[in-house]
């Protein structure tokens, strides 16, 4: 017998979705704002027929059924339009009549996102709320003989170095000769804004961050630096005096470098540094990815590509025959482009092979630093499997790298820049200080900046995470003017300044009780403890319970 209908495998009910929309008919004014604003079109106007019992006063008319139509909200239960829990519907609702709630059991959508043979891609983060960095405590509190300092009143020197520092024997000899060459070294703030490209971020977000960085430098005297990510740099910024606060990133797609090279003769200032991206924490061993949704005419112009095509960077640099050759060649080329005045350093994703890269870098007298991006790094777009399952935690990678440099006596020669999951649960200063005391010279942060400065609603439990398709409800990662106009660059700049100023206070509140103020406590591992014996042993810090 023929069935009356077909239950397809991907037919889901709202109960199978990760987020359920709760809608209150009594409060709803049917204004339609929620359905208009929903980035994933997960809710739509519903027309419903309802039976009710009508009982009139008296006995003349018998009670009867009444059929009426009412309008309300329906949740779409298809994998392609699934609610991501961003909550924009409740933000725009004038009557608080609608909001998403997380389903009580694991959703079924995850089994159907591969429709068409394309695995899930998303933006965001690793979706693991656990953080080893959060568990590290600062246990060496100065008492009695070395009194703790006053974080509010004492003078602090919160600076770090970015650049290759030759051994003192060589560097001092060169510096004592008028014609001697000392590699460029920048004295900068130890917290940097990590690489988030123009393209991954919206123009308003990018502009806001740049304004904030300029303000921190020029008004507050904090030498904060920001990395462009792989996507080039707007031509006016390249030709402005603010370029000195910017780390230009070159990656395997070389996006934007045509524009950068053409701007070279007109540059008023050298950039702070050049970061060569070989890998990133969110999608280790995979190239950058800007999906077609976000490649509009502006992005296309800056990157030198046609509009509306996806831009997956190759996983490796095309010049790469071997890592040694690639690193050496690229570093040399970049140094030459700026007359050996700009530090050039590679960035890799956290990996067990980081030490091999480090040893290679150590032998290259020009390599200015090594940036390592741990598995908790966030991104604008990546394959779900890369983000969730690939990569190496940052803490042990940084510690191994630092101790390896100590073994070969080069801990001051190659600054380690750590990134990936710093502040993922909001503990920005504590996480950064822990990494510094494990051996990092500086820390890069991205996701925290998006959350604090742009109001990103993403979480470590798969909320929103649609940065990749340009539908960011806050306009942080969208290239659609209708969306990114929601974000005022002035607000972003203000928040960035707030973040750095408050970070500065918190870092002092960590350093002062440890008795540290005159130099950044790089490698001060005797101050660290953790309540996990295995982790303590692995990191070479104290086990405390």
């Amino acid at each position: 017998m023929e069935p009356m209908g077909t239950l397809r495998p991907n037919l889901l009910s709202p109960r199978d979705l990760p987020w359920r929309i709760v809608w209150d008919r009594d409060r709803c004014t049917l204004c339609g704002r929620c359905t208009a604003a929903c980035p994933t079109r997960s809710i739509e106007l519903g027309v419903h027929r309802k039976r009710s019992l009508e009982v009139k006063a008296g006995l003349a008319v018998k009670p009867s059924n009444v059929y009426a139509v009412y309008h309300g909200i329906d949740q779409v239960a298809h994998a392609s339009r699934v609610c991501v829990g961003c909550g924009l519907c409740s933000q725009v609702c004038p009557n608080a009549a609608i909001f998403p709630v997380r389903s009580e059991e694991i959703d079924k959508v995850r089994f159907h996102v591969s429709e068409g043979g394309e695995p899930r891609r998303r933006g965001g983060r690793r979706n693991d709320p656990n953080s080893l960095l959060d568990r590290i405590k600062f246990i060496r509190i100065s008492m009695l003989t070395d009194p703790a300092l006053d974080a509010g009143r004492h003078e602090f020197e919160l600076r770090t170095l970015l650049g290759r520092i030759p051994p003192p024997e060589d560097m001092l000899e060169e510096a004592s000769r008028p014609d001697g060459w000392v590699p460029p070294v920048r004295e900068v703030y130890p917290l940097m804004v990590g690489g988030m490209s123009f393209g991954a971020l919206s123009p308003t977000m990018w502009e806001g961050l740049q304004m904030g960085v300029a303000y921190l430098n020029e008004e507050l005297g904090m030498p904060v630096r920001i990395c462009t990510g792989e996507g080039g740099c707007p031509p006016r910024l390249l030709r402005s005096r603010f370029l000195k606060y910017v780390i230009l990133q070159i990656a395997s797609g070389y996006f934007g470098w045509d524009e950068i090279l053409h701007a070279l003769p007109d540059m008023k200032e050298d950039p702070c540094a050049i970061e060569i991206k070989y890998g990133q924490g969110a999608k280790p061993g995979d190239g950058g990815l800007l999906m077609w949704y976000k490649v509009n005419s502006l992005i296309g112009a800056i990157r030198g590509v046609p509009v509306g095509v996806s831009l997956p960077s190759p996983p490796t640099h095309q010049t790469k025959y071997s890592i040694e050759e690639s690193v050496a060649k690229m570093i040399q080329s970049m140094y030459m482009a700026w007359g050996f005045r700009v530090p050039v350093y590679p960035k890799i994703s956290g990996t067990t092979t980081a030490l091999a890269v480090l040893n290679n870098i150590a032998r290259n007298p020009y390599a200015a630093a090594l940036a390592i991006d741990g598995e908790d790094g966030g991104t604008g777009a990546a394959y779900n499997v890369s983000m969730n399952h690939m990569g190496h935690p940052i803490a042990s990678n940084v510690r191994d790298a630092y101790l390896n440099l100590v073994r070969i006596g080069k801990q001051n020669e190659i600054p380690i820049v750590a990134a990936g999951g710093v502040g993922k649960n909001g503990n920005l200063a504590a996480n950064a200080a822990a990494l510094i005391m494990l051996g990092a010279s500086a820390v890069q942060v991205g996701k925290y900046i998006m959350q604090a400065c742009g109001g990103c609603v993403g979480s470590e439990t798969d909320r929103c995470n649609i940065c990749n398709i340009g539908l960011c409800p806050k306009g942080i990662t969208s290239q659609d003017p209708r969306i990114y106009r929601r974000l005022d660059p002035e607000d972003v700049a203000q928040r960035l300044v707030d973040v750095f100023v408050s970070f500065d206070v918190e870092l002092k509140k960590i350093m002062a009780p440890l008795g540290r103020s005159t130099s950044l406590p790089i490698g001060m591992s005797d101050a660290l403890g953790i309540d996990d014996e295995g982790a303590a042993k692995r990191l070479g810090i104290q086990y405390v319970v």
Partner: protein, 376 residues
């Protein structure tokens, strides 16, 4: 906090001069130890200026092992002034067999060696002996160097000095460094007792060095055999001095710039900015994070003192031509040289380095803002 006292004099002085100064400053230390360094020796040891002197504490078994070891190297004893106390030690002081002060004669095979090679061998011998004694505690070696004696012991400085009979006439020196120890967060071991010594360089410090671990790691990773020990966080100050002055060949002013570099914006206004920035950057891991007062002595017998900006009560230097003293507290200086003109006392502030060279004519103050390299 430890109390520090150093004195430099044209006329040889008894170590009791320094011990008495420590006693005056007793309020600030708990008598958990005393360390003495004597250099530019007078008395009976003056005649052996060029010969290495071994200072340490030995058991009888340790002496036998020492003799066997030195014989094998061809180092012969030339003179002994060992102290074998036969009274009951003061409370808290352990009974020891021998406080050794022994002058050696270089072996014939060392003739013709460069001064540098000889100094490396002296260091290697001291480290060897120290290692040999570490297992069974039969030897503790503090120095093996010409014209230098070191004595260290647990206990109250005055009581220990009386017990050891340090007031004996045969024992005198023109330069004396003394520390009364306030044991802090490290175990009581004599190797943690200041002053520390390496190849003619000695320093003693008060205050905690909170940047100790990264500094220690940096020094150890220099691959120099003498950069070892570190039972005290203050030992790094001696090794930083040795590294800066001897191995990098920089003047003493660089030591100040290494320990407490100028800030970046300050350097920008300094006439030697380029070189000083290279010093700061290349030796970043040696920046201290006090509060610390450092008093030290160079191989050329220059005494110096400096402190970092967190040292709220700086040490003081004063005296008169021919006799100058450096003290962590004013009362120590007053006790040692009461008849000086106090108007000429110097209290080095955060940018200063004060020093008295071997001519002992004046205290010189050098400031980090001054041109780099001016002799101090």
């Amino acid at each position: 906090m430890c109390r520090l006292f150093a004195i430099t004099s044209d006329e040889p002085l008894s170590p009791m001069t320094a011990i008495q100064a420590l006693d005056v400053m007793k309020e600030g230390h708990d008598g958990s130890g005393v360390g003495l360094l004597m250099s530019d020796l007078g008395g009976e040891l003056e005649q052996f200026k060029g010969s290495p002197i071994l200072s340490g504490i030995f058991t009888q078994e340790g002496i036998k092992r020492l003799d066997r070891y030195m014989m094998e190297l061809g180092l012969l004893t030339k003179y002994k002034m060992s102290i074998r106390p036969n009274t009951t030690p003061p409370r808290g002081t352990p009974r020891r067999d021998v406080y050794l002060i022994r002058v050696y004669e270089y072996p014939y095979e060392w003739e013709g060696l460069s001064q540098d090679e000889i100094e490396q061998r002296l260091l290697a011998i001291r480290l060897d002996l120290r290692r040999m004694g570490e297992d069974d505690g039969s030897m503790m070696v503090f120095s093996f160097w010409p014209d230098t004696i070191m004595i260290k012991e647990v206990g109250d400085p005055m009581a220990v000095a009386g017990y050891l009979g340090l007031d004996r006439q045969a024992l005198s020196a023109r330069i004396i460094l003394a520390q009364g120890r306030q044991n802090t967060n490290y175990a009581i071991t004599l190797y943690a007792c200041h002053p520390f010594f390496i190849q003619g360089y000695a320093t003693m410090t008060n205050g905690e060095n909170t940047a100790f671990v990264p500094i220690r790691e940096y020094l150890v990773s220099r691959g120099f055999p003498g950069y070892t020990g570190y039972q005290s966080d203050s030992e790094v100050f001696t090794h930083i001095l040795h590294y800066t002055h001897r191995r990098l060949g920089l003047p003493i002013q660089a030591y100040k710039h290494v320990l407490t570099p100028l800030k970046d914006e300050e350097l920008a206004r300094h006439q030697d900015a380029r070189f000083l920035r290279a010093v700061k950057h290349s030796l970043r891991f040696l920046t201290i994070d006090g509060p610390n007062c450092v008093i030290g002595c160079l191989p050329d017998k220059t005494l110096f003192m400096l402190q970092d900006s967190k040292k709220l009560r700086p040490g003081v230097a004063g005296g008169r031509p021919g006799l100058f003293a450096f003290s962590s507290e004013m009362c120590g200086l007053d006790a040692a040289i009461p008849d000086r003109d106090t108007k000429n006392d110097r209290q080095p502030m955060k940018y200063d380095l004060v020093s008295v060279d071997a001519s002992r004519t004046e205290i010189r103050t050098w400031n980090q803002w001054e041109p780099f390299g001016r002799t101090c």
